[in-house]
């Protein structure tokens, strides 16, 4: 007889969601988390799209420690000299089913892990699951330090690196083309200053993404999110590109913070936290084997993350995959069969859900983004030139088309059309 029905490795959003759902259905669940508390090892930009958690815990935002509801979106194209920003705000973002919230993982994750604990799970942290236990080849639990703990099924929610999924033979070593490295700082400012600077009402938030000089033309970009009394500011760059660059990410983040686009927004703020993390960005191309006998892979460990340049999502997929993993395990418990014959239902459930459907819809996005470096250098420059001319008066004027055409030619009209066409089909 195993110690537990299920052991979940990792108390991030996918792990805690799965644990919560399984415990609610009466299963005995152990969650092990290597951080001192849930959330201490996690990094997000970060914004949580609420829809997937809303289905599991309706109205969660009323009790969970969310920071601000995002009602204002900005996308900026930045060069060393200029910044072009599109700013969109809408009352449509108020709808709970499609709302999004800025979150700090050190606050949010302990809340969700707490919900799992309330539902009856044993949550142990800090505890590192070093190995999977096997008996005659069958996965029977985990080894944590000197302790062996057994379960009918192990849910690997141990993050982007997921060494356990690699050890279980479900996942290969990460490709540098499939992961980005992100670094972020939390800059403290009063709530009033944030509201004034970003034109927000109390409790409302802003999300801003930056393409161009912040990533020094490399595939990647900058981000800014408003929290209650702080801003998250950071950069994400694909590892394959970063590795070849002479630039160092911390220096780039420093330059970004000092740039004309950002500096006035951060004025008077104090850096209170610094963090960095790998980000899965390979989309469907990096998804590992998701189920096998007595084991499932979820969240970042499964590569469920999607960066389209205007939306960056991972947490809602993590929650979605956690809930579907739980459903599958509950079925396995009812049938008394934890082999892949039942657990493979997890893959079917994912295919029928927004998680895999989005991965498929945007299967070309990672490739398009990686192979269109013009988006990170030439196009921000094009935008800069056109708008700089448009708003400059220093003598006789020219027609718009005549102003713009030389710049468009420089970037390549054909490139622009092709990228526009390909991009709109991929993103």
């Amino acid at each position: 007889m195993a110690d537990y029905d299920a052991i979940v490795v990792g108390a991030g959003l996918s792990g805690s969601t799965a644990a919560y759902c399984m415990a609610k259905a009466g299963l005995s669940v152990l969650v092990v988390e290597r951080g001192d508390a849930a959330g201490t090892k996690n990094v997000t930009g970060g914004r949580l799209y609420a829809h997937s958690l809303e289905k599991i815990i309706p109205g969660f935002a009323d009790e969970a420690p969310v920071e601000r509801k995002v009602v204002r979106e900005r996308i900026s194209m930045v060069t060393d000299e200029s910044c072009f920003t599109a700013d969109f705000s809408s009352s449509r973002f108020q709808n709970p089913a499609s709302a999004s919230y800025t979150v700090l993982r050190a606050e949010f994750d302990p809340w969700l892990a707490g919900k799992a604990e309330e539902a009856g799970c044993d949550v142990v942290c800090p505890a590192v699951a070093d190995e999977l236990l096997r008996e005659n080849g069958k996965i029977t639990g985990i080894k944590a330090g000197d302790d062996e703990l057994t379960a009918e099924v192990v849910l690997l929610a141990d993050g982007v690196n997921s060494l356990l999924a690699q050890k279980a033979g479900l996942k290969k070593e990460l490709s540098p083309h499939h992961v980005a490295v992100g670094a972020k700082e939390v800059v403290e400012l009063s709530s009033g200053i944030i509201n004034d600077r970003f034109n927000l009402n109390e409790g409302e938030g802003l999300a801003q993404l930056f393409a161009g000089s912040p990533s020094r033309g490399m595939v990647g970009g900058g981000f800014l999110y408003t929290n209650k009394t702080s801003l998250c500011v950071g950069l994400v760059v694909t590892v394959a590109h970063m590795a070849k660059s002479p630039d160092r990410l911390p220096d780039m983040l420093e330059s970004f913070r000092q740039s004309a686009a950002l500096k006035p927004l951060l004025e008077g703020g104090k850096i209170i936290e610094y963090s960095a993390h790998l980000v899965p960005e390979g989309g469907i191309h990096m998804i590992p084997t998701l189920s096998a006998d007595n084991v499932l892979v979820l969240g970042d460990a499964a590569g469920f993350c999607l960066n389209l340049g205007f939306t960056v999502r991972g947490m809602d997929y993590a929650i979605g995959s956690g809930a579907l993993a739980a459903e599958t395990v509950i079925e396995a418990k009812q049938k008394g069969d934890f082999s892949n014959a039942v657990l493979c239902g997890y893959q079917t459930r994912l295919e029928n859900s927004f998680v895999m459907q989005d991965m498929r819809t945007h299967k070309n996005a990672p490739d398009f983004i990686e192979h269109t470096p013009r988006m990170f250098k030439e196009y921000p420059e094009l935008v800069e030139n056109i708008f700089a001319d448009m708003f400059t008066v220093s003598g006789p004027s020219k027609l718009m088309l005549k102003k713009a055409l030389p710049y468009v030619r420089k970037a390549g009209l054909l490139n622009l059309m092709l990228d526009g066409f390909k991009g709109s089909r991929a993103l």
């Binding site: 142990v124 800090p126 302790d147």
Partner: protein, 260 residues
């Protein structure tokens, strides 16, 4: 069965203390409670004495929010915990804490070994162990780095400024340990899970045999401020002078100050 009582303090972790640069005051809002790090060595010392002598091992604590300390403390090898959680004890001073702990030890009963650590990480007063010994009228052995037990007789080593002193004492006694007495292991998953099933007993101020008035602080903390660091704030490259020139200026400055 005779009991070993390990006193531990539930302190705020110092990792998230934030200093207000203007007023130098400390902001503890983000700090979480933890078992005082030195007391973890004390708990481990208790585990070793338990193993060697077959005594029962109980943890004792008092102060604000101490009910929430039980699970953590119990994962460190204790058989049970007795806590006195009362907001009235938030500002208790060293005399009060020692009186209350001595009262709790009597209430628990059958205790013949009390272990305290050298100090707590929050105010490092180094008083609790010896004060409890005085109140109980038992021998006090401080700065213990090694503890051996044979039934009721204890052989201890004490680390002093001028050497190591070996002491033989018979129980009952109060031992104040130095961290060198033994490294505290990090509790494993099974230790943490097992802690949930062990008894955590709430005591009230009345159980100490003292009134709340008797535990009122005799001393008061006037202020707590971060130390001031004064810097000269001299820039060696004020107008963007070359690195060589800046280095030469720095060497000259340091030489004149007698540092180099």
């Amino acid at each position: 069965m005779k009991k070993i009582a390990v006193c531990y303090k539930w302190v705020l972790s110092d990792t998230d203390i934030r200093v207000d640069e203007k007023t130098r005051s400390l902001n503890m809002e983000k700090c979480k409670y933890q078992v005082n790090e030195y007391d973890r060595n004390g708990l481990e010392c208790g585990v070793q004495i338990k193993k060697a002598s077959g005594r029962e091992l109980v943890g004792i604590t008092l102060g604000k929010d101490t009910a929430s300390s039980a699970k953590d403390a119990l994962s460190r090898g204790l058989d049970s915990v007795f806590y006195l959680d009362d907001a009235a004890l938030a500002d208790i001073d060293k005399i009060g804490a020692a009186k209350a702990l001595a009262g709790m030890i009597k209430k628990v009963g059958d205790v013949d070994v009390v272990i305290c650590s050298e100090a707590s990480s929050d105010d490092f007063a180094q008083q609790t162990g010896p004060r409890i010994a005085a109140l109980l009228g038992w021998p006090s052995v401080s700065y213990a780095t090694k503890v051996e037990v044979n039934g009721d007789s204890f052989t201890l080593e004490r680390k002093l400024d001028d050497g190591i002193e070996c002491v033989s004492v018979a129980a009952p006694l109060v031992i104040t340990i130095s961290p060198e007495v033994g490294e505290a292991p990090i509790p494993g998953v099974k230790d943490i899970l097992g802690a949930k099933k062990k008894p955590a007993n709430a005591l009230a101020i009345g159980d100490t045999g003292l009134s709340a008035d008797a535990l009122k602080p005799a001393s008061a903390i006037v202020s707590v401020l971060a130390p001031e660091t004064s810097r000269k704030r001299q820039r060696m490259n004020p107008d963007g002078v070359s690195l060589d020139q800046a280095a030469a200026a720095l060497v000259k400055e340091l030489s004149q100050a007698g540092i180099l």
